[in-house]
């Protein structure tokens, strides 16, 4: 194969081969399903947040306290993808919030078609916010768009402040980075929040880096203020474009499912 001139030398003079030049994303099918999910959310003015972290960083615990803080303002639902069991969904439902469990089995990430299936178990018209708890994994989920509006990446103080440098693909996707389990900071004295923030900046990511603890409701104010701001901004965007968005919303083509 002639790399330098791109002439496809191996196929020259051989009449039974054909080289087709394409320039497309490998995950094109997933991207299209994700766009379809986003259209679902937008048509109902629902804002979707994708929560990603290493296993046990505190996604479910954060959702529990966040629900308590916001439930009087927003109608919330959760898509749970973290475990093959119903444990996390049960924790959310115990708070009277609808939760759909995606049973990923041994899958290492959620993809857009799993979320699409889950959407049909949610009454989007009666919701304002959907939180998607992704599989606990700092590698795979970063590659798969689900149709969310924003990415939330959690890093617990017990994991070390150099995680963003070790998992740059994941931390580059973050629209906000939450440093969780801050109540443990006094005992985890080698975790430096400034170093964690510097590591995020080194990825050319301007996302806010916010320290909090799911055990201390007081520490959630910056995070919940960010959520309110994003919900307002994203919904304003829907309103401006709602005409075209709704017109483009073709319904459930099987090819995309």
């Amino acid at each position: 194969m002639c790399e330098a001139c791109g002439c496809g030398a191996t196929s020259l003079g051989v009449n039974d081969t054909e080289t087709v030049e394409i320039l497309g994303r490998l995950l094109d099918a997933n991207d299209r399903t994700a766009a379809h999910n986003r259209a679902h959310f937008n048509s109902h003015h629902v804002v979707a947040f994708n929560l990603m972290s290493a296993p046990g960083a505190g996604k479910t615990a954060l959702l529990e306290t966040t629900i308590d803080a916001l439930r009087s303002e927003y109608r919330i639902a959760v898509i749970e993808g973290d475990l093959a069991t119903e444990n996390d969904a049960r924790r959310i439902r115990a708070r009277g919030i609808p939760a759909v469990q995606i049973t990923t089995g041994s899958a290492c990430h959620l993809d857009a078609s799993m979320v699409h299936a889950a959407l049909h178990d949610l009454a989007l018209a009666e919701l304002d916010i959907v939180f998607i708890e992704n599989v606990g994994n700092l590698v795979c989920p970063a590659s798969f768009d689900l149709g969310q509006h924003r990415n939330v990446v959690l890093l617990s103080v017990t994991e070390g402040d150099d995680k963003p440098a070790k998992y740059p693909v994941m931390f580059r996707t973050a629209d906000i980075v939450l440093l969780t389990k801050m109540d443990l900071a006094p005992v985890m004295d080698d975790f430096d929040t400034q170093r964690a923030e510097d590591a995020v900046r080194n990825l050319a990511n301007a996302a806010p880096v916010v320290a909090l603890s799911a055990r201390q409701a007081m520490t959630l104010v910056t995070w919940t203020a960010w959520l309110r701001g994003e919900v307002t901004t994203i919904r304003a965007g829907h309103d401006r474009r709602s005409g075209t968005r709704e017109a483009n919303h073709g319904h459930h083509r099987p090819a995309m499912a």
Binding site: D16, V20, D111, C140, V169, A204
Partner: protein, 135 residues
């Protein structure tokens, strides 16, 4: 190296990406009435989120039993390049250090390096004369 702890999930991850790749390739082969696939070329950047060595080992598994069985996967590695928003200079950088090498500012824009692209497919087209002769 850093992935060794995560080996099981990552191989599965690359396998699912290969399955997406092979299904695109097979659609194309079908459209062009190809009898088989010879070679598939993809472009992979250092920030694509996939480990190319694992892609290479997952590829034959995804091809097994299809028209793409036996085809070669050729991987082109793209360069990780950023442009400084403050001084405008381009730098070639490491995946966890996307700062400008000229002025040190972290406010840069990615020019290339996160791609996961299907570049070309080399197909074997059934010889029509031979087909006719056999009829």
């Amino acid at each position: 190296m850093r992935r060794s702890r995560l080996k099981a999930p990552t191989i599965m991850h690359e396998l699912s990406i290969c399955q997406a790749l092979v299904s695109q390739v097979l659609t194309l082969a079908q459209e062009r009435a190809a009898s088989s696939v010879r070679q598939v070329r993809i472009g992979v950047g250092p920030l694509s989120g996939v480990e190319w060595q694992l892609l290479q080992s997952a590829y034959p598994l995804a091809c097994a039993g299809t028209r793409a069985e036996g085809s070669r996967l050729e991987i082109e590695h793209t360069e990780l390049r950023v442009r400084c928003r403050s001084c405008g200079i381009d730098s070639v950088v490491a995946p966890n250090h996307l700062t400008c090498t000229a002025c040190g500012d972290w406010r840069t824009a990615l020019i290339s390096g996160d791609e996961l692209l299907l570049l070309s497919v080399e197909l074997e087209i059934a010889d029509q004369k031979e087909e006719l002769a056999r009829v």
